[in-house]
């Protein structure tokens, strides 16, 4: 398991691994939005939370289609399926590697982007907290979607259609945490719901994804 995690991280950091792509995309979204809606600080402050969360969603989606597709194409997925590693564990480890290479960097740079979008000062800590709690769910739900489309030609497009609706609860509660936190309101409920989604996704989806992969390998 540890070997698989280290391998996936190493592959992501080597040339062509795609590390930094999602991060750069996230930065671009945050930079482009003020150009579109105008630089009025009041407007930006209003939409900052939503824009940052949507940006995180799309950035996570960007690298998902490679999650299993690369291993499928070069035959590694067959070999992993016949190895002593349980398939559910393989899925969880690959989702974790995806989060460490896309989700975690997003969390780390989000305060800077909050500044760009004039997020109220009280919101920064909640932006960090909500992304840190919510983005693991994005990786796991995405891994489930990727397992359904593995082996399909142009599966990446279908993947987006499958996964984005499943991201909606995470988006709603994540953005709610930031908005409420920025206004100094009660954030307990959305934060608990966000954490519940992440915990539920990590508990249930590895098994579902492993069954989907086994079905797709037949």
């Amino acid at each position: 398991m540890r070997a698989l995690l280290l391998r996936d991280l190493r592959l992501a950091f080597r040339a062509g691994g795609g590390f930094g792509l999602s991060l750069a995309f996230f930065l671009m979204v945050a930079v482009i939005v003020p150009l579109g809606v105008g630089p009025a600080p009041a407007t930006l402050a209003l939409i900052a939370a939503g824009v940052l969360w949507v940006g995180a969603l799309l950035a996570a989606l960007l690298s998902l289609d490679r999650l299993f597709a690369l291993d499928f194409e070069d035959g590694s997925l067959d070999l992993l399926a016949t190895s002593p590693l349980p398939m559910g564990g393989v899925v969880a480890v690959k989702a974790l590697a995806h989060w460490l290479t896309t989700g975690l960097p997003l969390v780390a740079v989000s305060p800077v982007l909050g500044l760009l979008l004039n997020l109220p000062r009280e919101g920064y800590v909640w932006l960090l907290v909500s992304l840190a709690i919510g983005t693991p769910a994005l990786s796991m739900i995405g891994a489930f979607g990727a397992s359904l489309t593995v082996g399909l030609k142009r599966g990446g497009l279908l993947l987006g259609l499958l996964v984005l609706p499943l991201y909606i609860p995470t988006l709603i509660f994540g953005a709610e945490v930031v908005k409420a936190g920025a206004m100094g309101a009660e954030i307990g409920t959305p934060l608990a719901a966000l954490a519940a989604i992440t915990a539920g996704a990590w508990a249930g989806l590895p098994l579902a994804a492993s069954m989907a992969i086994r079905a797709n390998l037949k």
Binding site: R2, A3, L4, R7, R10, L11, R14, A15, G16, G17, D71, E73, D74, G75, S76, D78, L79, L80, A81, T82, S83, P84, L85, L148, T149, L152, A212, A215, N216, L217, K218
Partner: protein, 206 residues
């Protein structure tokens, strides 16, 4: 070590092989023969438990099989040594050095796998089988793109594996240079388009 009795296998909802029986004892190799499309790969995938069987029984080997497919599962941006080390860790062995030695890969150990030639990549794929330390090798056309010297090298590796009490099930069309039983699966091909009447509906997954 591996016994198939009256085995039937379907692929994508169509019967491929029907009524196939064989046994693979320790220390022996079984060579599968048959024309393209006869179902060699399908049989090997079923033995590796990647493909469910439609009828009959397949016993033994669940935890002992090292499966080598058409594609090598080699990561181009990792070095030869890193590729093998990864599989050694997955299988919990320390055979990476032994495998590189057996297939003469030491000189290439620090080379990125993406820079290898097709034959060298294949040798790396075969070295992965050695790394697993498992007793039943299930290999699909292992000698594709190998030169004569490498085929002989691979033949020696298999012979050593058999001498150590292992077994091998290999689909190939060439002589590998060791004593082996031959199973021609042409006779077990299913008739045209026999539909599968099983309760499984997971083919409809996508």
């Amino acid at each position: 070590m591996l016994t198939a009795q009256d085995l039937s296998i379907a692929r994508a909802g169509v019967m491929v092989l029907v009524g196939l029986s064989f046994t693979l004892p320790a220390g022996r190799a079984l060579i599968l023969r048959g024309p393209n499309g006869a179902g060699k790969t399908t049989l090997l995938r079923a033995v590796a438990r990647l493909q469910p069987i439609a009828g009959g029984s397949l016993t033994g080997g669940e935890e002992d099989i090292a499966y080598g497919a058409h594609s090598d599962g080699v990561k181009p941006t990792l070095t030869v040594a890193e590729n093998l080390q990864f599989w050694a860790q997955v299988y919990g062995t320390d055979l990476a050095g032994f495998a590189m030695e057996s297939l003469h890969l030491e000189a290439l150990a620090q080379r990125r796998a993406g820079q290898l030639s097709a034959g060298q990549k294949r040798r790396l794929g075969l070295a992965r089988i050695l790394v697993t330390g498992r007793s039943i090798w299930v290999l699909d056309e292992p000698t594709v793109s190998l030169d004569a010297a490498s085929v002989a090298l691979f033949g020696l590796a298999v012979a050593a594996h058999l001498a150590a009490g292992g077994a091998a099930l290999i689909a190939t069309h060439i002589d590998l240079g060791f004593a082996a039983d031959v199973l021609d699966i042409t006779a077990y091909r299913a008739g045209p388009q026999v539909p599968v009447l099983s309760g499984q509906f997971d083919e409809a997954f996508l």
